[in-house]
């Protein structure tokens, strides 16, 4: 390390009051603002979710008994696909306009900043999906008493989906037309979340305890919260520096 580099790094490492937290909230605010500026894109996952749900009664049967049977799985799979579709744009614009490189150069740990980006993504896709799901559940004749569990399981599950999916998005951001590849590498990793998410709703439908499933979803979320930011940060570095 040369003298000059040492000097800069000391300047950068000088603790700013609330340095990390300020950077985290600033990134979060910036991303939320940017996403709100593209309101059309914001609605896309929700519209996609509703559309896919519409396809099933048409494709399978409008019979309420049949629909009620498959509703938990359908809602979860459709929400999962909707979340997956929105992932490709998570780092794409930042990569294109170079702000991702700025983020890499920031003195704050990249893992924390990427966590802020994922949080913004979840707030504007996972959260709305979880809130809209019960409405679509009505159209699928989802049995009463499982609506709250559906929303709650999606709330917990979609956060894990965003975190895991961000790893794939970070890995493929440098690849032109990486969308299909992104699904290929991420969908297998989504399976545990899907299993426990659907399990929770199905348990609620048949009137069993849902605590175990929700606890598992919580555990998956805790694990991905702990590990995913590091993997996202490493992947972003790879995508930018090669």
């Amino acid at each position: 390390m040369t003298q000059g580099q040492k000097a800069t790094s000391t300047i950068l490492e000088t603790p700013v009051p609330g340095g990390l937290w300020v950077a985290f909230t600033a990134t979060l605010k910036r991303d939320v603002t940017l996403m709100f500026r593209r309101r059309g894109e914001l609605l896309n996952p929700l519209v996609f979710f509703a559309l896919v749900i519409t396809l099933f009664p048409i494709g399978i049967s409008p019979d309420r008994a049949v629909l009620a049977l498959i509703a938990p799985g359908l809602l979860w799979v459709a929400a999962l696909l909707a979340a997956l579709l929105s992932l490709d744009s998570l780092f794409r614009t930042d990569y294109d306009d170079g702000s991702l490189e700025q983020m890499l150069l920031a003195p704050q740990p990249l893992a924390a900043l990427s966590l802020a980006k994922v949080l913004a993504h979840w707030l504007l896709t996972g959260l709305p999906l979880a809130l809209v799901a019960p409405l679509l559940g009505v159209t699928l004749a989802l049995p009463l008493g499982s609506y709250a569990v559906l929303a709650l399981s999606l709330l917990l599950g979609s956060a894990s989906l965003s975190l895991i999916g961000a790893i794939g998005a970070a890995l493929t951001v440098g690849i032109a037309r990486g969308g299909v590849l992104l699904s290929l590498i991420i969908l297998p990793l989504y399976i545990p979340v899907l299993i426990f998410g659907v399990g929770a709703v199905q348990a609620a439908v048949i009137g069993e305890g849902v605590a175990a499933h929700l606890a598992m979803l919580g555990a998956l979320l805790a694990a991905s919260l702990l590990l995913a930011p590091w993997a996202i940060a490493a992947s972003l570095r790879i995508s930018i520096n090669g």
Binding site: I167, L171, T172, G174, I175, G178, L181, L184, I185, L187, P188, L189, I191, P192, I195, F196, G199, M216, L220, A223, L227, A231, A234, S235, I238, S239, G242
Partner: protein
């Protein structure tokens, strides 16, 4: 420790030492697989199978392939870790050649499981816990291969595939556990293919031999293909050209 890793990390040293180890691995694997094949196919008594008839003999390829498929993924992730932490290029070369072989083994496990399903379940495919996990594992392998080849620069592809392999290996136990759990919840079949109480010795001894043979096969093939990969990537290095001059 450091010198050891760096020694193994030198492609030249690895190339020389693997040339000596490789024939032994092939020999051992050939002997083990031949023994296991003859024993398993012809000598294990039909009565040990608890009412499946002779279709149980598929176990001698299904289980070794399934074991190996998972071990290949773990080895690939371990090699990726070594590559990412210590920048050992040979580890990345090994990880590169492991992925397609792992996919092949996963396919073998899936195919033999599906064929076994016909006399056992009366259907080619059952969403049984083991077959489902194997299918997911196949997708994980394909994802790693696809990601590596999607990068135009090899360095980026190597690092990205390494991260994905490590993320995948953390997920494999979670996927396995959740699929098992899901299967017991929805269980419609009365039994899974290979989970039976106690295998008699005549049955599991040839199985053990086959498993060991498959592992040796994996080691031998990986050594061989890593050597090729070394030549591919180091083709312009002086030691490779010296090697050829010596051989001529």
């Amino acid at each position: 420790m450091w010198t050891f890793i760096h020694k193994w990390g030198s492609p030249k040293w690895f190339y020389a030492i693997s040339a000596k180890v490789q024939p032994w691995c092939w020999a051992v694997s050939l002997i083990l697989i031949a023994t296991g094949t003859v024993w398993g196919l012809a000598f294990t008594p039909t009565e040990v199978n608890q009412g499946q008839g002779d279709s149980f003999r598929i176990i001698y390829v299904h289980v070794p392939a399934a074991f190996l498929a998972q071990s290949v993924f773990v080895s690939m992730a371990a090699a990726s870790l070594v590559f990412m932490v210590w920048k050992v290029k040979v580890a990345d070369m090994a990880a590169t050649v492991m992925a397609p072989f792992g996919a092949v083994m996963t396919f073998v496990a899936l195919f033999s499981g599906a064929v076994w399903g016909v006399p056992t379940w009366g259907t080619w495919w059952m969403w049984d816990a083991r077959l489902t996990s194997m299918l997911i594992l196949l997708f994980l392998f394909l994802g790693v291969i696809a990601l590596r080849s999607a990068f135009t620069r090899r360095e980026g592809g190597s690092k990205a595939a390494s991260v994905l392999a490590m993320v995948g290996v953390i997920n494999i136990p979670i996927i396995k556990y959740s699929v098992d759990w899901w299967f017991t919840l929805h269980q419609s079949a009365t039994f899974t293919l290979t989970s039976r109480p106690l295998m008699p010795m005549e049955m599991w001894l040839p199985l053990l031999i086959m498993v060991l043979g498959f592992y040796c096969f994996f080691i031998a093939l990986t050594l061989m293909r890593t050597r090729s990969e070394i030549l591919r990537r180091e083709i312009d290095k002086r030691w490779v050209r010296d090697l050829i001059k010596e051989a001529q």
